[in-house]
Symmetry: D2
Subunit: 143 residues, 4 copies
């Protein structure tokens, strides 16, 4: 169980596919089944009042699990989100980054499951939790 | 069981709070426990390849249930999303609007539950399903 | 899109695998992408006070989607539940059957998604909603 | 943030309401926002082949969060499950207890959210994850 890509390789690959990724997200830490991703909070992620929007938190959770799966299976796979559950528990702090702590619970041949807690930077109580499920298509041999 | 606001009153109210709402969403139909909302698809909602992004579909589902709850309870309440589950079943068609058919399953004193199917305009099979749960704070007396 | 098995063939097959199925469940109706299943409510499904327990409603939802998938793909597949989301909206009526109205939203090669509303028999407002996702293993050739 | 009830007080209270609780569940550990509950696996929890059934895992997750909430708020509240999401990731080992590690993510005035990982006793990889949301009714003053 080693990683197929480093954090910067993952970011490079995601930025090729989704150019805006570098403006929105950064990987703070990457381990064999853990990844920490940061939403680089900017005006476009905010609701009036300064709180981070639900869709921005969804995007962070989705991107964190995608990055974690990529780091493990490498470029060959094109994983697709199949389901998501989220609970929004506290109002995010105004104008600070949101940090997603992702744990990869399963990486099977067909399905990957990642669990996340989201925090406002510098705060102890999570603002949200999420689970994202990815479908991993049969190996297409593109390495 | 009548509506507290019309579709255009709901849109006006949401646009006061969230200025970008008018660019992104339109209410196609509103009934006592049903609402049809359209994501006015634009470049900013798309992934490379032209498919509508997950966060945009999340935003549509979230906004549709919020509008449905507003239409029923009126301006007095400030509903907050507490949880969400989504299943992504098919790739949205490239460059066409996404339509959310929302059904209000419950409107209690403290919680509202809305169920949604999302369709690419003109297609029969749903691209996604979602359930959004809103917490309705105790009446603040602002009528 | 025709059915691979009739309602009674589905019940026979499930009863072979899970003997208690016949005591707990009955199929009221079966169509190409719709199935109505009834929980034959008995003391063992009840909480004190006479209300149907959460685990019994989960079992009904799970079994209904399994039956729907079986009816479509036939005996060859051994589908496995991979995820579930449920919302409990109202207290079930005491001592009456619970009816699950299932709609098959997707039947792909690898994943099936079924959506359900659960009702206390004779009542209009749903007591719960559920989505069950099943993983369908690669065809084993047993036809 | 201290506990309102000890583990044995929680079990006594649950057994008053749900007599079968003692046969099915035991609390292995209880902390301020953590609870470990064990499903005392018996034939009635098993599927053919010896694996623990989905409804039994649902019941364990539901009961663990209920116990955690009780331990914090005490007898005065009658919490009710409002929503649940579960992912089933691996087949439970045959004939061994299932252990739920519950973490209380939020205990608000109206809503409690508990997150769980479920393990087959003695195994490292979780068999399932779950989130249960409980609604806490306004204080009825019954202490």
């Amino acid at each position: 169980m080693t990683l197929a890509m480093t954090a910067s390789e993952v970011m490079d690959y995601m930025a090729e596919e989704f150019p805006q990724v570098r403006d929105d997200f950064a990987i703070d830490a990457l381990g064999e089944d853990r990844l920490t991703m940061r939403l680089l909070v900017d005006d476009r992620h905010l609701r009036p009042g300064g709180t981070v929007s639900g869709p921005s938190m969804f995007a962070l959770a989705d991107c964190a699990v995608y990055a974690m799966v990529l780091a493990r299976v490498g470029r060959k796979a094109l994983a697709v989100t199949t389901s998501c559950s989220m609970d929004f528990m506290r109002k995010p702090a105004a104008g600070v980054d949101v940090i997603a702590e992702c744990r990869l619970l399963k990486l099977g041949r067909a399905l990957a499951v990642g669990d996340l807690l989201l925090y406002s930077a510098g705060q102890e109580a999570p603002v949200a939790r999420a689970t994202m499920t990815y479908s991993i298509p049969p190996d297409t041999g593109v390495k």
